[in-house]
Symmetry: C2
Subunit: 216 residues, 2 copies
Amino acid sequence: MQSYTEENYLKIIYHLSVISNPVQTNAIAERTQTKAASVTDMLKKLSDKELVDYVKYQGVTLTEKGKLMAINIVRKHRLWEVFLVEKLNFKWDEVHEVAEELEHINSTLLTERLDEFLEFPKVDPHGDPIPDQYGNFADLSFIKLSKLKVNDKGTITGVSEHSSPFLKHLEKLGLTLGKKIEVSEIIDFDGSVELLIDYKKINISREVALHILISK
Amino acid sequence: MQSYTEENYLKIIYHLSVISNPVQTNAIAERTQTKAASVTDMLKKLSDKELVDYVKYQGVTLTEKGKLMAINIVRKHRLWEVFLVEKLNFKWDEVHEVAEELEHINSTLLTERLDEFLEFPKVDPHGDPIPDQYGNFADLSFIKLSKLKVNDKGTITGVSEHSSPFLKHLEKLGLTLGKKIEVSEIIDFDGSVELLIDYKKINISREVALHILISK
DNA sequence: AATATTTTTTAGATTTGTCTAAATTTAAAA
DNA sequence: TTTTAAATTTAGACAAATCTAAAAAATATT
Ligand SMILES: [Mn+2]
Ligand SMILES: [Mn+2]
Ligand SMILES: [Mn+2]
Ligand SMILES: [Mn+2]
């Protein structure tokens, strides 16, 4: 049985692995809001438990066991986020802190029943994929519009924000499901994106781009 | 901000206050599964925080502040139990441990939205009253089945023992919330009670009768 | 009232997760 | 290839929550 703290480390290492592998001490320290020395202590502990492969001065990689645990925490986090938004009418920006706590409730029955209750959602309110109980992610063939580069083309296949103001805004801009778009420019200043749609150029904020899902 | 541990102490002191006031160190130690010495340490800490009035060698009483905190934890515990049973199809003997963890999630928004989602339940799956957000309990008038006389009638509205074996036993006997019963005989020999339920006679031990709550 | 028993508290130690400051290793720059 | 800088680890300390064993206080019993 892992402590709340160990679980947070595992999850953070999991997320950081996507960017760099192995994961460095300082990167973890920054995310956990602790000091490098504390991280070193924890890495030794996780290594003793065989949840990470740790090489002094190099960094850590999750073992298969550690990875499964991390994915399970991510699974719970995202399921709870769906619950909060779909059932309790939280806004997409209100769910994170609470999910950060709920993800540590350990009960397989609870997790699986929650999944069922939510009708097995594939993505969370931010468009992030929800792994199944075995740790497998459905291959989602869409990415956030904000991840596209200049000249990339694609089709709008979903949104990861369901609020009325947001949807109305999209509609007004002509950004509806099935529409083909092309990124014509990305403005460094504010991260906003210029799109080509229906032979017209429009500009959307980074905030909006983050919640539009694109498939190629 | 209270720690998980402090919250558990507050809740336990609250429950024990009903039986004896002030609450004694050993009683708390038994409930928290710790030693008396540990309890003494915690009582000093809670006293410093003005959550309890503590008199050496005498015991503790919750302050108004401490009592409100305790009631809020009880509120969350019972709301989550309702959620688990009503929405996730948990059985009434399966909810306790999970609620024991969920009760520590601190988010007013979450608690109030959950209350609303559940349509403001007045009692939990065991018939225990759910306080409102100000700490007020609806006046529920029930008595122990063991206090009934022969020929007394009533409806099962709660239980005062939440262990899984006990609850499963009741279920097997058909003694669930809402069922109407009548006392047909009280056996002097062992204090067991003969009941009329669904036109059938069943016999329950005094031990069981002590933990069934009846309203007329 | 004196003695025995129970209850509670103190003293000192341990574990977990954290910190600061100093030492060490690795990486980058001159 | 030295020298410098950055990243990481060790050493030693601390707060929270717990423990055991011994001392002290409150109750109960003769
Ligand atoms: Mn967390
Ligand atoms: Mn999310
Ligand atoms: Mn608890
Ligand atoms: Mn209950």
